[in-house]
Subunit: 157 residues, 2 copies
Amino acid sequence: MESRISIITLGVQSMRISIRFYRDGLKFSTDAKDEAEWAIFRTAGTRLSLYSKEGLAKDIGIPFDGTGFGGITLAHNVPSREDVDQIIQQAVAAGGSLLKSPCEAEWGGYSGYFADPDGYPWEVACGDGWEFGEDGTLWGGSLGPMPRPNAKDGGDA
Amino acid sequence: MESRISIITLGVQSMRISIRFYRDGLKFSTDAKDEAEWAIFRTAGTRLSLYSKEGLAKDIGIPFDGTGFGGITLAHNVPSREDVDQIIQQAVAAGGSLLKSPCEAEWGGYSGYFADPDGYPWEVACGDGWEFGEDGTLWGGSLGPMPRPNAKDGGDA
């Protein structure tokens, strides 16, 4: 299995609310209309998609019984502390909820959390020495190198 | 906020078991040793990381109370049905559990699901007309175009 995640799908309660949150509020790139039954957002290197939580459980064939913290976070990493503050504010203005105000993190960076309309936690963080590609992909710094597209001798050796 | 997910973090019960599952079983690229308190895996365009579920909830400042289906799936998309079958077998051999045997999907492709040691569902799927980049990133096909790295006129217009 190659070291690769093609799509992250969030099961949501209201497609309309979530599409508006990600498309209109956070400005994620998509062709999805309000009434879409499934929405896919173009993101650098991977895709985010939305689907009804009940339908997602049904597709897998498992019970639709989840409560509380699902155990997964998504991170959006940025070059500066100002970016962290600004994005957390944007997310809250878009209808997200503030889970943790940006502050110094134990690991040395600066980080805050917001939740999307279904409570999925997003961390917005910056760290020292992080390098970003032109499309925003986090390449190096303290997290270690990543394989670059088309690099034959990338980190997957 | 740019249309981008930098890191996906799975909260896990046993770092050792999960590191071995992803590193040794699925062959995901990492420098993490068995005893790591945090593990990061290089994946095309994004990163997967592992951290204790309790610690992750604590970092966010929310209760560690989740049960059942957390509502998120990760997808690993491949060019052929044989790839789907082979990867599902590999994941089960590595200690994952079979959630759904590969079969024809309603959306026209071929798809199966396995769960990692903490129950996080991964879909392995192939579809007609999907195009892949050299690093395995899913570019086009029925899911619509994605911005290519360094493309100034990508899908984020």
